[in-house]
């Protein structure tokens, strides 16, 4: 994990001081709400239905235990005792008071956290695989380069007032756990024929009302050129992206309207003029940043210690959890543990201050003080000795984060929806809660296997419904909440947008429809190990449509 130095701390402290002044000017009436809006947005402060909301960045999803304890403190001291982890490796607090915001930010700054650029038309938090640095299938830990890019775009003088927000994700594994192709810009590390590593650059992905998957504009970009190439992309977008219509302002529309070849040509011309200048990455600069990343001092351990096997035989629930929530680590004897923030009847992605404190303590004891946040809105303890798993499980179970539903139908990705958000047309959270109740039976959920349900309360698609195996989109019809259902979306290396199965259904029927879809899958699948998404791919949505609408 990256440790701030004096420069980083100074910048965040200066930012807090500036924001304190802006809040004071707002409170005194010197600034109107309209003038204050872009300033607060640049610090992650939204005005929602009931209160101000503060969004804090968790760059590339890595948290120290001290940082998680501070998030617990903010939840307790300034909010209502909980926080909400989002699909972009951020955390949100939904009940913050304006006059207390500068203090909350100063507290966060004391552990190197901030809300800078978690909103506004700038480069947002840079996200990656929550298993970065520990996944066996990873080429290289990209968090160092993600940090280089993060620093470069922080308070960037040219790219703070772009046409619209700009989201960057990076990934370095064969299996894409960062939803790369739904980002404005995605950098995928791979090896070329000569064995060198470099980036495939993909541009113009995004969901919202006009969903697109990102397209490749450069198959292989050398790492030394990453900042100059990103700069050329942002400069092209900043100048030519549409500003006449907020719904057409994302880079995906520019790429679509210009055509990907013309866009790539524009970027290439700009890049050629700057690539050998100050932005060419000096290995010494990268090495300096890498030197401030702290890595665990792993012990020499063997895989599959006998006490783990014995514990699995002794307890069926523990065994099921190991099979579901624990993944292979690149270092022998260690494991990656996912903590489900999707308990039955819970709000997806929510954690209480007590849970955060407890998880921080467990991270100190079992995971070298490190926690990760994934876009699926779960937490991860990335470096757990396999022999510690039985003891860890007992503790996780006691605080309600050991539900063995990771990747299953009740591991729902959801936006806050109409319960909080002023943009929403419909509620998301109660839909998610009801689905978790319908599929509370662990054997049924397990039988259904890997199945991603994504819920968005409006067309802005914060719940990524387009790329859910089952996507649920809230819409408003004559003042009532209705939901469109899509099937077959995927956010992985084989990303795909889902297909609408038919007319929207009313709020009260959504969970029934999901049950119908699940039942149809169990009948349609050719083998028990044919995944839901494979069945949908093979059969198309028609048999599901028939099943769902036959009785409606």
């Amino acid at each position: 994990m990256y440790v701030y130095d004096a420069f980083d701390r100074t910048l965040v402290a200066e930012r807090v001081a500036e924001f304190r002044d802006q809040v004071a000017r707002r409170l005194s009436g010197e600034l109107t709400e309209e003038e204050f809006k872009p300033l607060r947005l640049m610090n992650g402060v939204y005005l929602q239905l009931h209160a101000y909301m503060l969004r804090i960045a968790i760059p590339y999803g890595t948290l120290s235990s001290a940082q998680l304890r501070m998030l617990a403190h903010v939840a307790r001291r300034y909010d209502r005792g909980y926080g909400h982890f989002t699909t972009r490796q951020n955390i949100q607090f939904h009940w913050i008071k304006l006059d207390e915001l500068p203090d909350a930010m100063a507290d966060l700054a004391s552990v190197g956290m901030h809300g800078m650029q978690t909103s506004g038309n700038c480069v947002r938090n840079i996200t990656t695989d929550q298993w970065a640095g520990v996944a066996p299938d990873e080429i290289e830990d990209l968090r160092v380069l993600a940090e280089v890019i993060r620093q470069h775009v922080t308070l960037h003088p040219e790219f703070t007032f772009m046409p619209r927000k700009f989201k960057i994700a990076v990934g370095a594994s064969a299996h894409d756990r960062a939803a790369l192709r739904v980002h404005d810009l995605a950098l995928r590390l791979h090896r070329n024929g000569a064995g060198e590593t470099g980036f495939e650059v993909m541009i113009g992905g995004g969901l919202g009302r006009t969903p697109f998957l990102a397209k490749t504009i450069k198959p292989f970009l050398h790492k030394r050129d990453v900042l100059s190439y990103v700069e050329a992309i942002l400069r092209t977008y900043n100048q030519f992206g549409r500003r006449d219509n907020i719904y057409k302002a994302r880079i995906k529309i520019l790429v679509h309207e210009l055509g990907v070849e013309a866009f790539a040509k524009e970027v290439e011309a700009e890049w050629q003029s700057i690539k050998d200048g100050a932005l060419a990455l000096d290995p010494a600069v990268v090495a300096e940043i890498a030197s401030r990343f702290r890595y665990p001092a792993y012990e020499r351990l063997n895989d599959s210690p006998p006490e783990l096997a014995a514990a699995r035989r002794a307890d069926r629930r523990f065994d099921a959890w190991i099979g579901n929530a624990v993944a292979n680590h690149k270092v022998p004897g260690y494991a990656i543990v996912t903590l489900s923030l999707k308990p039955e009847g819970g709000t997806p992605g929510d954690a209480t201050a007590e849970q955060m404190d407890a998880i921080a303590a467990l991270a100190d004891r079992y995971s070298f003080g490190e926690i990760r946040v994934g876009h699926e809105q779960n937490l991860v303890l990335p470096h757990v000795a396999q022999g510690d798993l039985p003891a860890l499980w007992c503790e996780l179970d006691a605080i309600g984060v050991a539900t063995a539903n990771v990747g299953l139908i009740s591991d729902i990705i959801s936006c806050p929806g109409l319960d909080y958000c002023s943009l929403a047309n419909a509620r998301s959270i109660p839909i998610a809660q009801e689905i978790t109740r319908r599929f509370r039976n662990a054997d049924l959920a397990h039988d259904l296997g890997r199945l991603h349900v994504n819920i968005s309360g409006c067309i802005n698609a914060c719940g990524h419904h387009h790329v859910g195996h089952i996507g649920i989109l809230g819409v408003e019809k004559n003042g009532e909440e209705f939901y469109q259902i899509t099937l077959g979306g995927k956010a992985d290396e084989d990303a795909k947008l889902g297909t609408l199965i038919g007319p929207a259904v009313p709020y009260a029927q959504v969970a029934d429809v999901v049950e119908d879809i699940a039942a149809a899958y169990l009948e349609l699948r050719q083998r028990p190990d044919e995944l839901f998404i494979e069945t949908v791919k093979r059969t198309g949505v028609e048999p599901f449509r028939e099943r769902v609408y036959a009785a409606r």
Partner: protein, 174 residues
Amino acid sequence: MPLVENGRIVEDRYVRVLDDAPVPDRAPVIVPAKRFLADAHELIRRDGSLGVLWPNDRRVAELEPWLGHLALIALVFPKFRDGRAYSQARLLRETYGFRGTLRATGDVLRDQFHFLVRAGFDSFEVKKPADAHVFAEVLARYSVFYQPSADGRAPVLRRRLQSAAAVPKTCETV
């Protein structure tokens, strides 16, 4: 609308000339882009400093042949949120090497000052008098910059490689 240069409020020496108005002799003038492009050969022969008001939806590359004759380029921020002129400014300074005055006009508010300076602007038509008065104070808000830009300041990525003495003292207590 106060004009700020070198951190102080100053008188504007330049006269704005409209599209069809006659251009006064000798006086420093700012002419609109279309007029400039139509009459460039004549305009550059007259005495007196020449400036052009360049819209944010036209490529600054069009100005390249004339940069040696221009004393000032005024770029436009129609709205606070419309940041196209930041890119134009950096291109003029860093790619085309423009050394004259770069003026920010339009919706220029205090919270943009340090972005503007870093992008290469050195003349500011500030919308609110109260903002113009605190120009220097606002610029002092930040001492740390991560990225290289048109102001030539050493970015943090570089400063880290220099001696430990470069580390700002103020933050040892933070």
